[in-house]
Symmetry: none
Subunit: 249 residues, 2 copies
Amino acid sequence: MEAENNYARGTSLAAKISTDLRRELTDGVFKPGDRLPSESALTREYSVSRTVVREAIAILRADGLVEARKGAGIFALQTSEGKKQPFKDLTTERISSVIELLELRTVFEVESAGLAASRRSAAQIEAILEAHHHVGECLATGSPTRDADFELHLAIAEATQNRRFPEFLQLIRSGIIPRGELQGSAPGSRPKDYNLHLQEEHGLIVDAIIEGNAETARERMRAHLRGSLDRYKVLLRSRTLSPEDINLS
Amino acid sequence: MEAENNYARGTSLAAKISTDLRRELTDGVFKPGDRLPSESALTREYSVSRTVVREAIAILRADGLVEARKGAGIFALQTSEGKKQPFKDLTTERISSVIELLELRTVFEVESAGLAASRRSAAQIEAILEAHHHVGECLATGSPTRDADFELHLAIAEATQNRRFPEFLQLIRSGIIPRGELQGSAPGSRPKDYNLHLQEEHGLIVDAIIEGNAETARERMRAHLRGSLDRYKVLLRSRTLSPEDINLS
DNA sequence: GCATTGAACCTGTCTGGCATGTTATCGGTT
DNA sequence: AACCGATAACATGCCAGACAGGTTCAATGC
């Protein structure tokens, strides 16, 4: 019965409270500049000790969501809720590790798609189509798409004719998907319409690459990965995060 | 020296300790599965209370870097790869494909400039200006600009607020400039008008970043690095060159 | 009207304590 | 000698109280 240890299910009170507050922050309950309830108020509200409250606040501070001013209180900062611009509003202190990696990857994949569109060979188009098809099969059979998805992205990187691009993608993958096990941990977590989106977005990218339209390929890849980022942020908000939940499709 | 005042905003002890430990984790001091010092050990090591230590650990847990098991200790997770490791082989590999690396760096630096333009803090603008000024000094005294130039690019990468960017830049640098010897090999090889161009291009990029114009910053960085690529290609044609001739300015 | 002051509140940090889970050692038993 | 269970030592999770500062704001005194 020790399949899942105590760490697993959002056990710690601090994690729960920080997630709670994080959601309130991103939902706009606390707008930038607002003062949050004081530590003692939170202590009463959640019926926990001040230790727990302080740990929760420490997490939010590290994420740049709030700012603590000695003597004054805890204040909400700008949240990353500006969905209009790519990564705007992340001017906060630091970005979560995974988001940082994802952002780095986005930079490369966007350009990767563009280069692929201008340089791809016939054989590489073939490989891309096959990988795309394979993702579709996985979706149809309900099996995990993560590996197939990565193969597609890899095929695109290879079509840049620059060996560094697929190399880079493979290297960064290990940083993004840290623990390979546990991947089936959240069985019902990925709704069907998400999968539809996935395949549709992939298709648009693939089309642009085949047509040789670099600018369009870049745009679509950017949109695609921005979707990843948003999905990840939702996960972040909904509960204590576990990096293995991330399928950067 | 120590530009490592990283997240100096919330200069709390917990923040300091968590960044300390974070660096040790990503530097591989603690490898995945390793047990970190116990809370009481950290209490002694840093001469702080357990409250502070617990807040620091809470941050690392929320980032998925460590896992705390009640009764057992705190353990490093496997999230730390994908950081320094990835480009290890790039350095060891042959430099035959300098152009490929340069291209990889280009897409990265272009986006880096754009992100820096939208996110830079006042202090980071200061650092960028100082580095820019330093390059100018090197040009004036005739000393090599390579290091100063790199510092400028690094300052820009740091202004992205994404720690992966400066990390990546440093890694790829070592891949491009593997051995430091022979660096003074061609003293007169860099014509004056090239240097003028260099400083002028830099200035344009810096201005765009300061103004917060991301699109312009991207364009100018792209033009700047394309110049690098062209210069390199000229070198390639004219003679066999050694990697240290490359100043990716 | 205006500056001063002081009480009330806030966060930052420290100390000590209890509950509970894990680990390794030490006995005794087989 | 090998095995096994009790147990002490140590770990984290959480709690309670305290004190040192910084901030806020309203009452006070001019």
